[in-house]
């Protein structure tokens, strides 16, 4: 048979094999891999050659036992929200040139399930976490952030343990109200997500959005026209909200929502009630997802620059992971109104 030193056939090639082939120590190989200090060009070359020859790939689990795993975890509730896809694009783009791998946990809407996924990620020694609008209780997120670099996207609560990226939803709401008032509307209803009661976040996007709406309406002297309706950000949630609002005694002439998908549900409700948009009711979405642009919907919406949020989050996270910064940081994006065909002057004007 072959010599004892011959690599066994179906065995994974390890750092030891590389070291043996290159005729150096495993320490040296490790140093090259992590381009650490104290490695001569000649050594570099020898090791790289051996790596290429053997097709060596570092064993992530083994790495996880000591140092980094080069894995970034992204938590989101559901994959259907097109806005999250925009954020993901930004994250991927930012990280595509690095060695890090992005893995996504789709946890569903239940806070328990989300906690479970977050714990899983921590157990897997991920180097950093990006949590998109987590429904998990805030203390839990803070505890996680204390041990693993974390960026929270969406919530406006800031903390000194994690970084944050958020959209100025209050300004966004203001843009919408201004636009609608400019068209002549006064009865402007807001459909927003129900506040996640027990989670102890005080400045969720919904809350900030509602505040912005309230403030803007007040600014225009329309405080007695305030009307806030809570609904899940889904087609079904929007549909129900739409039926309620549009059959109410005092029907709003315009409805603004916190998510495009909910706006589409309202669209469906209007359709069912034989109300035309924008002739009978103006409708505004939020997030400017691909849905909003889709013919024949053509939904006026608010653009949040999802990809930019994603890449900002990724950039901040890597800074933390690599220890280049240790103070919490917060990035706020400025929203922009995208006017399409779902808004017009109210009829009776």
């Amino acid at each position: 048979m072959g010599g004892a030193a011959a690599p066994r056939p179906n065995k994974r090639v390890t750092i030891n094999d590389v070291a043996r082939t290159a005729g150096v120590s495993t320490t040296a190989v490790s140093k090259v891999l992590n381009n650490a200090y104290g490695v001569s060009p000649r050594m570099q070359e020898k090791v790289r050659a051996a790596i290429a020859e053997l097709g060596y790939r570092p064993h992530a689990a083994a790495r996880g036992m000591r140092g980094r795993t080069y894995t970034i975890g992204v938590l989101l509730d559901n994959v259907r929200n097109a806005f999250f896809a925009d954020i993901l694009d930004g994250i991927r783009e930012e990280l595509s040139s690095t060695e890090y791998t992005v893995l996504i946990g789709a946890a569903g809407f239940e806070p328990d399930q989300q906690s479970r996924v977050i714990r899983s990620m921590v157990d897997r020694q991920m180097d950093g976490l990006i949590l998109i609008a987590p429904g998990t209780p805030r203390p839990e997120v803070l505890a996680t952030a204390a041990s693993t670099p974390t960026v929270v996207i969406g919530h406006h609560d800031s903390a000194d343990t994690h970084d944050s990226v958020a959209d100025a939803d209050d300004i966004g709401a203001g843009l919408v109200v201004d636009h609608l008032v400019g068209l002549g509307h006064r009865d402007i209803a807001l459909v927003s997500a129900p506040g996640s009661k027990a989670a102890q976040w005080r400045r969720t996007p919904e809350i900030v959005l509602t505040d912005g709406y309230t403030e803007a309406m007040r600014r225009h002297g329309l405080e007695q026209h305030l009307q806030v309706h809570h609904a899940a950000y889904s087609d079904e949630g929007g549909f129900k909200a739409g039926l309620t609002l549009l059959t109410a005694e005092r029907r709003p002439t315009a409805i603004m929502t916190g998510a495009d998908v909910a706006a589409l549900g309202i669209y469906r409700a209007a359709h069912e009630l034989a109300l035309r948009i924008p002739e009978d009711v103006s409708l505004v979405g939020y997030n400017n997802t691909a849905l909003a642009a889709l013919a024949p919907v053509q939904l006026t919406s608010v653009d949040q620059a999802g990809p930019d949020m994603g890449s900002a989050a990724a950039r901040m996270l890597i800074e933390r992971v690599e220890g280049r910064r240790d103070r919490a940081q917060r990035t706020t994006m400025t929203p922009r109104l995208v006017q399409r065909a779902s808004t017009a002057a109210p009829r009776g004007r």
Copy 2:
């Protein structure tokens, strides 16, 4: 200060701590954790109590060095395809009651990127992989499957190293053609994805769909009306295809597509050309995603039971991971036509 045995403050609690607390060996704890053979009820109880008391959680990376990681990786190209979300729901549902965690890799459309993500998952010692319509060259997938249990969703090529779940796309195409012919159409065009040339898959969903279409048209004696157009399964891809087809000299009276999202692109093109659907052109999607049902689109589509495909894939994968089966298996789903408002008899009839 305190005794040497006191657990250090900021240290992760390990299996050793549990063993010490319970007064047993680490082996015993490990056995309890993996409910292996040879552990008395009394032992069970002691160990579980210690685990609960200390709040112990197994270190996934350490597990990865020896045995399982209890992680299932799902590869998909992009998160925006609502059909994938359906599949994911099925996977999550099937696995929710188990100890496994599902992590998603969104790799983009580039085969290189997809390969990279697959390798990452293997490096991370994932217990099993579900690949949704991978664009990676087939030999690479086979090589991966040889070492890690793998289920391929979508492609009809079967192999003895991996399990497969697919939809009978040929039958689906037949259903659509039958439906359209029944309404009186003869000029029925198909918009399908361009074949991924170099990847060496011979029976991708596109190919099977096209075959089914061709066969069905032939069955109705319409071979000279065959018209296949290739376009990316995206809004933009559909839009371009729509412009081309609908401005052609011999305009089809019906267009069927391989994906709802492409159908919506065609819808947009029709809109732009001032053609009404279904009055001027009938339109059929595929996959019956949430998009198809969205008002005011109401797209006739083909339901593929995405959640069922996902749960079947997950079930098969776990069987393999846990070694309960070692022969490759293949599950084929039967599609169902969902008739909505986008199809009608052609005008000139």
